[in-house]
């Protein structure tokens, strides 16, 4: 029993690859562009192109492909559920019925809708994971902060916001580690999490989530004290140890992104949407 094994979100995998060396801002913007493209894509061909691009990025970054995929494992039930919902609930007037039983009818339109939406979620998750796997916490913070700095003009506390966001991301793994210990402590008292009917199973959440909540609050409080003990104050007076700068690798990456975006937009415009 090891809960943290399949968590890839918020984990940083140190390396020296092309992607690791990019300026965090380049990576954040590139991820942003891919997210926007993903939201516009409505055909399998375009998804294929995104897949090839992301797969190449994973290989270049030196992330073992098996590990990159393992992050999806805990999401499988949710994804399946989503796919089934789309399959039975989505339809269009000219859709062909492929399966019908009692009040459930599945059409080919529903099938494609379900598949495309599932792919979209997988890719959105994938691009975020790729970003955090190749960018350390510090540079992620610096990059986001620098990108959001224009918003300071309208009075938004960008530095504090970014700090909060990055801590939240980091806590995913910390809380998973705590959860692992709590689940084990309750299993040691004979809880069988996989036995019983729905209500019995739901009841078993309490012995796990109550200690988890309490420990999350405690952790947060300890973090606050640790930060204050080192005189952390947010805001405009903070200086940086490392300054960001756009280098040659970034220019190359921007060029690649431009070509890739053009290709995807071309595919979106020319290939007939599946739905």
């Amino acid at each position: 029993m090891e809960l943290t094994k399949n968590i890839t979100l918020g984990v940083y995998l140190p390396g020296k690859s092309f992607i690791h060396r990019l300026d965090p801002r380049t990576k954040i913007i590139a991820s942003g562009i891919i997210v926007i493209l993903l939201l516009m894509i409505r055909s399998y061909q375009a998804y294929g192109a995104v897949f090839i691009f992301l797969a190449a990025a994973v290989i270049i970054a030196g992330i073992p492909p098996g590990y990159a995929f393992s992050g999806f494992k805990p999401m499988l039930p949710v994804l399946t559920f989503m796919w089934i919902f789309q399959l039975f609930l989505y339809s269009s007037p000219d859709a062909e019925v492929i399966f019908s039983w009692w009040i459930f009818t599945a059409t080919d339109a529903g099938f494609h809708m379900g598949t495309l939406i599932t792919l979209r979620v997988i890719f959105l998750f994938g691009i975020t994971t790729l970003l955090t796997l190749t960018t350390s916490m510090v540079s992620l913070t610096d990059g986001l902060e620098s990108l959001l700095s224009p918003l300071k003009a309208i009075g938004l506390p960008t530095q504090e916001l970014v700090m909060t966001m990055v801590i939240a991301l980091r806590f995913v793994l910390i809380l998973a580690e705590e959860l692992d210990k709590i689940v084990k402590a309750q299993m040691a008292r004979g809880v069988a999490f996989d036995r019983g009917n729905f209500i019995q199973k739901t009841k078993k959440i309490f012995p796990v989530f109550l200690p988890l909540f309490i420990s999350a609050f405690k952790r947060a409080e300890e973090l606050i004290i640790a930060m204050e003990a080192r005189s952390y104050t947010g805001g405009k007076h903070r200086t940086k140890m490392k300054t960001l700068h756009i280098g040659r690798v970034d220019l190359a990456a921007i060029l690649i992104m431009l070509i890739f975006s053009a290709l995807i937009i071309f595919l979106i415009l020319t290939v007939n949407p599946t739905i």
């Binding site: 090891e2 094994k5 995998l13 084990k184 309750q186 040691a188 008292r189 069988a192 796990v208």
Partner: protein, 288 residues
């Protein structure tokens, strides 16, 4: 109910870039009624090893057999195994979740669908075993407890499952001397009166020397020593090289030996040492 571990290997995050080998070919046996101390520096793998004893972790290679049951066997009834091998975690906050002490201790027995009278009976017995007064503490709020009382509640919660083997994972960490003495007295009692097999995990040699009959020293995921408690302290150099502290008493004896005194046997507690040295001094046996 004996435990037999054979060639156990275990890595965390196996198959990921973060894979970390924690246990290397560990083999050991624990007999019924023993009091075994598993001692090692932090990150040595002692908790990982102990979590194999009640199947919270399953071996990746090698085998763990508990009372004839092979834990990696997919048919094995691990739930009832975990009730027979109790595990008390280092941090009681991971375990305690109910409102009151009584409710939390009742959680284990309730999981076994026992009758209400049986549950109450078990809670009462468990509280008595750890020295918590039923009338005072049963209705007490968990968050109103002191550190030592929390530990005792956590131990009672596990005892209520009536284990034959009890694994105690660093249960005195962070307690003041008094809370610590109280816990140690409870543990000694459980072993002597209830005849429960105790596996005591700690990085403190002092406690292990005081309580255990046999000590297994784990370092970097390997078994370094596995000997009766008095034998272990004949090799203070080896223990020091691993980064374990030696009981003060042993340090004193060692210093005396360095100055040429002949000490007839190795004492484990302060009382033993005083006895030994005074009698020896009276008989003028200590001098060279």
């Amino acid at each position: 109910m004996p435990i037999a571990v054979k060639d156990l290997c275990f890595s965390y995050k196996q198959g990921t870039p973060f894979e970390k080998k924690v246990l290397h070919n560990i083999s050991l046996d624990i007999e019924d009624g023993e009091f075994v101390g598993i001692i090692g520096p932090t990150q040595s793998g002692k908790t990982t090893l102990a979590q194999h004893f009640n199947a919270l972790l399953l071996p990746q290679s090698g085998s763990v057999t508990v009372n004839g049951l092979i834990t990696s066997d997919p048919q094995a009834d691990l739930i009832s195994l975990r009730l027979q091998v109790g595990y008390v975690f280092q941090n009681p906050d991971y375990q305690l979740f109910a409102q009151t002490v009584g409710e939390d201790i009742a959680f284990g027995p309730q999981n076994q669908q026992l009758r209400k009278s049986e549950v109450t009976e078990r809670v009462t017995t468990a509280m008595k075993q750890v020295g918590l007064d039923f009338d005072t503490f049963c209705q007490r709020d968990i968050y109103a407890l002191s550190g030592g009382q929390k530990r005792r509640t956590a131990i009672a919660g596990v005892l209520a499952c009536k284990p034959k083997i009890l694994i105690l994972d660093d249960v005195t960490a962070g307690l003041d001397p008094r809370g610590r003495e109280e816990i140690l007295a409870v543990i000694r009692d459980l072993h002597q009166k209830q005849k429960i097999t105790i596996i005591y995990i700690s990085n403190s040699m002092d406690e292990a020397a005081e309580l255990a009959e046999r000590i297994i020293v784990i370092n970097r995921g390997q078994k370094q020593l596995d000997e009766p408690v008095r034998e272990v302290f004949k090799k203070p150099e080896q223990l020091r090289s691993i980064g374990l502290e030696i009981p003060e008493v042993i340090n004193v004896i060692e210093k005396l030996q360095e100055r040429g005194y002949v000490i007839p046997s190795i004492p484990l507690t302060l009382e033993e040492a005083i006895d030994l040295l005074t009698t020896a001094y009276a008989q003028r046996e200590v001098k060279r």
